[in-house]
């Protein structure tokens, strides 16, 4: 039933050749690879900005670049990493590839819309790149007014338009996933038999659909105010700059859950497979995903504690922010319980999963510190916050993404990556990451402000450690870039189910045929049922 030979069968990769067959494809698997190429480009571009930033910060005086250039560097690093890398990353690559496969469907509900959403992302990316090449933008990725509307002399409108456009890519992807998951599951695949990755993508899609329009209209208002000299956020006209922040963070806080929820879904899959145990507390994990999506919309004011938001509102947001940590913690406990008495193996995806669990816990805990008003007033706009969100975004999401890429690479390409090099990179990433960002917690607590390129002598030792760590981290990211590409030609041929995992995606060939399944599967068992795999093993 599960065939091991691949080369003789027509896969989605070999079905058609030529540039047009890729650029005009409606196959969700090919679109996933188009996204993979795009976001990998943006990741390395954002990384270049990070490199220059860390080089500047090696010495206390602001001597490598001018202040305005430095402002542009961290702005572009943020804009590219958030909007052009992290937000699309897991949903648009792994999500696009896996959602139809995991639910036993032939494709997403709206394949043409799927292709359109890739082109929309590219259009937005081109806008941002054009703005960057013309001189960039220096407002911070947060575009606070009135600086961005009235005083900045950089390409605010163009970058804002770029973000507006990429937002639609995100909305269309989320919309596609919601309809697909609701209406196209295979016979027998009830909601509580779904893999937890699907639950997390579903929850993410809810956030994408309900949150992204607000950032879109916010950037539109900034562009309109700046372009037509209207005064919606202009204090001189009675406009309220804090209103901008409310609108901005209404999306941008849930956005961080768009970034981390799919990562959590990947971790659920990986932890289960490499401990040969079903995920402990499946229902809790599934409901937690949705809870995070909903609660994530109630806490945005915690970004505005020192922005002259009323103390009364700050109290409410602080209180709610403690709540949102609960479902995340529930997931961490459930993963730990899954590992307990499991038959654990240390393949590369599992190494990334361990990294995620540890680093996300630290990042999440420091989030609860920041939710406390008294503490936040002390460390807001310092490197403590920078460390907090990098622990979650890089130590969390990026690690999960790498883990997922490794885990599903055989399915996507029909090739295995080199395990030795992969394990080494995972270790290098983990060490480099902690060396980069842990000193930032300390120096932030001691008072090092964020977005400053000149700083007092006393912080230099932390910055040097951080930059050293960043160089190690860079190596850790470059090695997989090389061996993934290498594996496409020279990697070992992958069987249909190299990890002996459950899940419908493993019931078809590696790589899958264009229509995903020869026969529509019928599901009769719960998710993560490893006992049936033992029965089914052919010799």
């Amino acid at each position: 039933m599960i065939t091991a030979t691949v080369e003789t069968k027509d896969s989605y990769l070999t079905h058609e050749y030529g540039v047009r067959s890729w650029l005009l494809t409606q196959d969700h698997k090919r679109i996933a690879l188009l996204y993979l190429a795009a976001i990998s480009f943006f990741f390395f571009l954002g990384g270049i900005f990070a490199t220059v930033i860390r080089l500047e910060l090696l010495t206390p005086p602001g001597d490598l670049v001018s202040s305005q250039t430095y402002n542009k560097l961290f702005t572009l690093h943020g804009v590219i990493m958030v909007f052009l890398f992290l937000i699309p990353s897991i949903p648009a690559t792994l999500g696009n590839f896996l959602v139809p496969l995991m639910i036993g469907a032939k494709d997403l509900a709206f394949p043409k819309l799927n292709l359109l959403s890739w082109y929309v992302l590219m259009a937005g990316g081109v806008c941002v790149l054009y703005a960057m090449l013309e001189g960039g933008v220096d407002t911070g990725w947060t575009f606070y007014v009135p600086f961005s509307t009235s005083y900045a002399n950089t390409y605010v409108i163009l970058t804002g338009v770029g973000i507006f456009i990429t937002g639609f890519s995100s909305i269309l992807t989320g919309l596609n996933f919601i309809v697909t998951i609701h209406r196209m599951r295979a016979p027998g695949l009830t909601w509580f038999r779904l893999p937890l990755f699907i639950w997390s993508i579903y929850a993410t899609s809810i956030i994408q659909v309900l949150g992204t329009p607000v950032i879109a209209v916010t950037m539109l208002l900034v562009a309109v105010e700046r372009g037509f000299h209207l005064g919606i956020f202009d204090p001189a006209l009675g406009g309220d700059p804090v209103l901008f922040q409310h609108l901005f963070w209404f999306y941008s806080h849930p956005a961080v859950y768009i970034m981390v929820l799919p990562g959590m879904g990947i971790i659920s899959e990986i932890v289960s497979v490499y401990s040969r145990k079903k995920v402990f507390g499946y229902h809790f994990v599934a409901f937690s995903s949705v809870a995070i999506a909903v609660l994530g919309f109630l806490v945005w004011g915690h970004h505005m504690f020192v922005a002259s938001q009323s103390v009364y509102a700050s109290l409410i947001f602080s209180f709610l922010s403690f709540f949102v940590a609960v479902p995340s913690a529930i997931k961490v406990f459930n993963w730990t319980a899954t590992l307990y008495k499991g038959s654990i193996s240390y393949e590369t995806p599992m190494l990334y999963a361990f990294g995620f669990i540890g680093l996300f816990t630290i990042g999440g805990l420091t989030g609860t510190f920041l939710a406390a008003l008294g503490f936040d007033v002390h460390v807001t706009d310092t490197y403590f916050v920078v460390a907090h969100f990098h622990y979650i975004m890089v130590g969390g999401t990026l690690m999960a993404y790498l883990g997922g890429l490794h885990y599903w690479w055989p399915k996507m390409t029909g090739r295995m990556y080199p395990e030795g090099w992969a394990k080494l990179s995972a270790l290098v990433v983990f060490l480099g990451f902690n060396l980069t960002f842990f000193p930032q917690f300390i120096m932030g607590y001691l008072g090092m402000p964020r977005r400053y390129h000149a700083y007092p002598e006393e912080f230099q030792v932390y910055h040097v450690l951080s930059t050293a760590g960043a160089s190690v981290l860079a190596v850790g990211y470059l090695i997989p870039a090389v061996y993934f590409i290498w594996s496409l030609r020279y990697g070992k041929i992958a069987p249909a189910n190299p990890w002996n995992a459950s899940g419908l995606e493993w019931q078809t060939t590696s790589p899958p045929p264009p229509e995903n399944f020869d026969v529509t599967p019928v599901v009769t068992r719960e998710a993560y049922d490893y006992s049936i795999l033992e029965e089914m093993k052919v010799g």
């Binding site: 596609n176 607000v214 000299h229 209207l230 609108l247």
Partner: protein, 217 residues
């Protein structure tokens, strides 16, 4: 009957599932539009609660008759759109094309009225960014009112324009016989979009035109 018009896509099992998915997809899109306009409604709410007197003053500079007529015109266009959907469902091709054309006509009429209102406001010196010369009571907050007014009606007008394009495409396809009682989903979901455009105006009208009319002499 032309079977090509059923156009069952390969990812779906049957036409029912396809129609269901398309409708759900359009409703999700409309939910995003609620939040999209909603951001501006939020700005409006914050500012009106802060400056009620100025907003009342400013509102009385808008032409109530034109506003009310615009509202009626959009409601009529929603009615003709609903009748178009009914015609598609009952296979009345000529009626379908006629009702779609009427909807487009009323939509265009709405835009004409809107643009003439804008022109009048410009000439009265009430268009921020282009010609704002109001100097009477509380000019700063009156200007804020008009910033919001033009932003919101502008965004709405852009949606009306997109709607006209969509409906024109639908009318042409309908005239060429693309729809039948077995397949008229694009008409239905275009209708959903059009009704949404009407819904936004149903709120814009009282919020901008009816704040303090009793003060007007």
């Amino acid at each position: 009957m032309a079977n090509h018009s059923l156009a069952l896509r390969h990812q779906f099992d049957d036409v029912e599932q396809q129609k269901d998915a398309s409708t759900l997809g359009m409703w999700l899109f409309l939910a995003t539009e609620v939040l999209f306009f909603g951001g501006m409604f939020c700005c409006y709410t914050v500012y009106r609660s802060a400056y009620p007197a100025a907003f009342g003053q400013a509102s009385n500079h808008l032409n109530l008759i034109l506003g009310a007529v615009s509202t009626a015109i959009l409601i009529i266009s929603s009615f003709t759109m609903a009748c178009a959907v009914n015609s598609a469902a009952t296979g009345a091709k000529n009626a379908l094309v006629a009702f779609l054309s009427l909807t487009i006509l009323f939509a265009a009429a709405f835009l004409v009225i809107e643009m003439s209102e804008w022109r009048m406001l410009y000439q009265e010196g009430l268009m921020p960014g282009f010609n704002f010369t109001y100097k009477e009571i509380d000019p700063a907050h009156v200007q804020l009112f008009f910033c919001m007014y033009f932003s919101m009606t502008g965004l709405h007008a852009s949606h009306v324009t997109i709607g006209i394009v969509i409906l024109t495409v639908m009318a042409i396809r309908a005239w060429r016989g693309a729809f039948s009682p077995a397949y008229y989903t694009p008409i239905e979901i275009s209708g959903l979009y059009w009704h949404f455009v009407d819904l936004v105006w149903i709120f814009l009208f009282p919020l901008y035109y009816l704040i303090a009319r009793h003060l007007q002499g």
